[in-house]
């Protein structure tokens, strides 16, 4: 189960639409071991592609070191699909390398619909999980 504040969910969706037609990608960091997504970190898609994403390698180093310094981990790793459904593709599964993360997929294939789904990807196995969006006062 992914529990996420509405504001963070909205930031992910807005990022996806801002980068459309390229895939958008990023991280939400949270305190290590807490499973709480708290800090929104949009990342550059170094591929700048409508069908592929990759974190820029030096930006990734900077962000990963910063999380370590702050005793955080990547709680959510998100990216968007611009013409297909918000479901992990074969390449998404084969490159998933953070077994503790919630993999959030957003689709921007339909301007009328907001597709926001979350999955775990562990040892090559995809499992969809429910998303609870909490409102902030």
């Amino acid at each position: 189960m992914l529990t996420i504040a509405a504001g963070l969910r909205d930031q992910i969706v807005a990022h996806a639409w801002a980068d459309h037609p390229d895939e958008a990608c990023g991280v939400i960091a949270g305190p290590a071991g807490s499973d709480r997504p708290e800090r929104f970190i949009p990342m550059l898609n170094a591929e700048r592609s409508p069908t592929f994403y990759r974190f820029d390698s030096l930006e990734q180093l900077h962000v990963w070191r910063e999380m370590e310094d702050r005793d955080e981990e990547p709680v959510v790793i998100y990216h968007s699909h611009t013409a297909t459904e918000a479901y992990p593709s074969r390449t998404d599964v084969s490159y998933a390398s953070e077994p503790g993360a919630h993999y959030v997929l957003v689709s921007t294939r339909d301007a009328e619909a907001d597709e926001f789904r979350s999955f775990t990807i562990i040892d090559g196995v995809v499992a969809e999980e429910p998303v609870t969006v909490t409102s902030t006062e």
Binding site: E23, C25, V27, M43, E47, S49, P50, T51, F52, Y53, R54, F55, S57, L58, Q60, L61, W64, I77, H79, H81, T82, A83, T84, P88, S89, R90, T91, D92, Y95, A96, S97, E98, P99, G100
Partner: protein, 92 residues
């Protein structure tokens, strides 16, 4: 002579859970061969027939080793090598 090598979560099965291990060598290639002697199977996750695996990022201090000569990059005592699997994917 010691070079610190920081290991990402998914590769810690090769290091008994350790986040960081030490090794020696004059180049990255030698360093990985040295690590393989104590952490069997680790090198294969980092290197394939063509060299450094494409979706594994290896950094020497603050730089991506792809720009420092890849496996031939010289390494020295006191350097820190960091390994991070690339975060990537796509729609297909």
């Amino acid at each position: 002579m010691a070079i610190e090598v920081r290991i990402p979560t998914i590769l810690r099965t090769y290091t008994g859970g350790a986040k960081s291990v030490e090794g020696t060598g004059g180049t990255l290639d030698e360093l990985f061969a040295d690590l393989e002697a104590r952490h069997g199977g680790l090198r294969d996750r980092l290197v394939d027939d063509a060299g450094l695996r494409r979706f594994v990022n290896v950094y020497l201090n603050d730089e991506d080793v792809r720009f420092l000569g890849g496996l031939g990059a010289p390494v020295h005592d006191g350097d820190t090598v960091t390994v991070l699997p690339a975060v990537a994917g796509g729609s297909a």
